[in-house]
């Protein structure tokens, strides 16, 4: 059985590769810091994330040997990222789209610094445009048991 260990000798990468990857990572760090001082608007986030992703891929591929190892590890690694992405995207389908039908539905959260209720006046204001009288009242909904 012991001879098995010799047939599957692990892949030993050259020293220069590790040092090279390390240098690239530090270089990219400097680049991303430098770029953050230039204003591209919303693109700043995109660029920063792009650079971070490249750096992360280098770490995963070479330091963590994903490039050389069993592809199964890659599958699990990517599926984690996939489910994370699903989590963020679908949740945002909710959190960013709550005002689709009525603006007011998503209103309060965005403006509240510390919990402060909208005053009844605001509500009255919304209702002002309506002119139905309760005189025609005839349906009663009761919350007592």
């Amino acid at each position: 059985m012991t001879q098995n260990t010799h047939t599957n000798e692990p892949h030993i990468l050259p020293l220069s590769l590790y040092l090279g990857i390390g240098a690239i990572l530090i270089g990219l760090t400097v680049v991303t810091v430098y770029v953050s001082f230039i204003h591209f608007g919303a693109f700043n986030l995109l660029i920063a994330m792009l650079i971070a992703t490249v750096k992360a891929s280098l770490v995963a591929m070479y330091f963590m040997h994903l490039k050389y190892d069993n592809k199964l590890y890659m599958v699990f690694f990517l599926s984690a990222l996939f489910f994370l992405a699903t989590f963020i995207v679908i949740t945002m389908f909710d959190t960013l789209r709550r005002g689709d039908i009525y603006e007011i539905k998503s209103g309060a959260i965005r403006d509240a610094v510390i919990y402060d209720k909208l005053s009844v006046d605001t509500v009255q204001g919304i209702a002002d445009s309506l002119s139905v009288s309760t005189d025609t009242t005839d349906v009663v909904i009761d919350s007592s048991k």
Binding site: M1, T2, N4, T5, N8, P10, I12, L13, L15, Y18, L19, I21, G22, L25, I26, T29, V30, T32, V33, S36, N44, L45, A48, M49, I51, A52, K55, A56, V59, A60, Y62, F63, M64, D69, N70, L72, Y73, F76, F77, S79, A80, L81, F83, L84, F87, I88, T91, M92, T95, L96, I109, R110, D111, A112, V113
Partner: protein, 216 residues
């Protein structure tokens, strides 16, 4: 290499049929553990993403108070420690035990540096009242709910910091065991697993850094 009577190496557990199977199992197990780590941090990334999407101005305003210099220093320190960790494994693969110890000690020192810098950053924020949640007393940030930014900041860097500390503990243990001659080019699973863990901690920092320090 010490062997038991039936020719199996001493580190081979009874339920594995050979060393290769044992090594592969450990590695797969470690990767699955890393997957759980990613999703654990992932929840916090979701927190960050949702609130950033809700309050973009506040996040941009808030990031101006974090210290880019310290953040950059820490990023470079952590990347370097990842390199030394990878080299420690390589040295063990080549059977150079003393070199392995040397690289592990460097990794430990770099991790220590990271934590010291982190300490100064935290201390500064504590002084200014830039604290999470209801302890937030700072007044210099415009926008909605700035305390949420610091909640995310402290939770994410804090959880990351705890991982660094745990990693340091494991590296100390590795140094002791390597000195005692526990590992060989045939058997260095513990060092390899620690390496994977350490790189993941680095990998998470690679995302935390721009999110908090660069693009607020």
């Amino acid at each position: 290499m010490s062997q038991t009577q039936d020719g199996h190496p001493s580190f081979l557990q009874h339920h594995f049929s050979d060393v290769e199977q044992q090594r592969e199992s450990a590695k797969l197990g470690m990767w699955l553990f890393l997957v759980t780590e990613i999703l654990l941090f992932g929840g916090l990334f979701v927190f960050y993403a949702i609130y950033r999407a809700w309050h973009p101005e506040m996040f941009i305003n808030a990031h101006t108070v974090v210290n880019i210099g310290m953040g950059t220093t820490n990023t470079i320190v952590l990347i370097t420690s990842s390199v030394t960790m990878a080299l420690a494994i390589r040295s063990m693969q080549l059977g150079k035990q003393s070199q392995t110890i040397w690289f592990l000690v460097s990794t430990l020192l770099l991790a220590g540096t990271f934590m010291v810098v982190k300490y100064f950053e935290y201390a500064h924020k504590f002084d200014l009242g830039q604290l999470p949640g209801k302890f937030y007393t700072f007044t210099g940030i415009e926008g909605t709910n700035p305390h949420v930014f610091f909640s995310a900041y402290f939770l994410m860097t804090g959880l990351h910091g705890i991982h660094v500390l745990i990693g340091m503990g494991i590296i100390v243990w590795l140094i002791i065991k390597t000195r005692a001659g526990m590992f060989s080019p045939q058997y260095y699973t513990h060092i390899e697993m620690t390496g994977l863990y350490w790189h993941l901690v680095d990998l998470i920092w690679i995302f935390l850094f721009p999110l908090f320090y660069l693009v607020g």
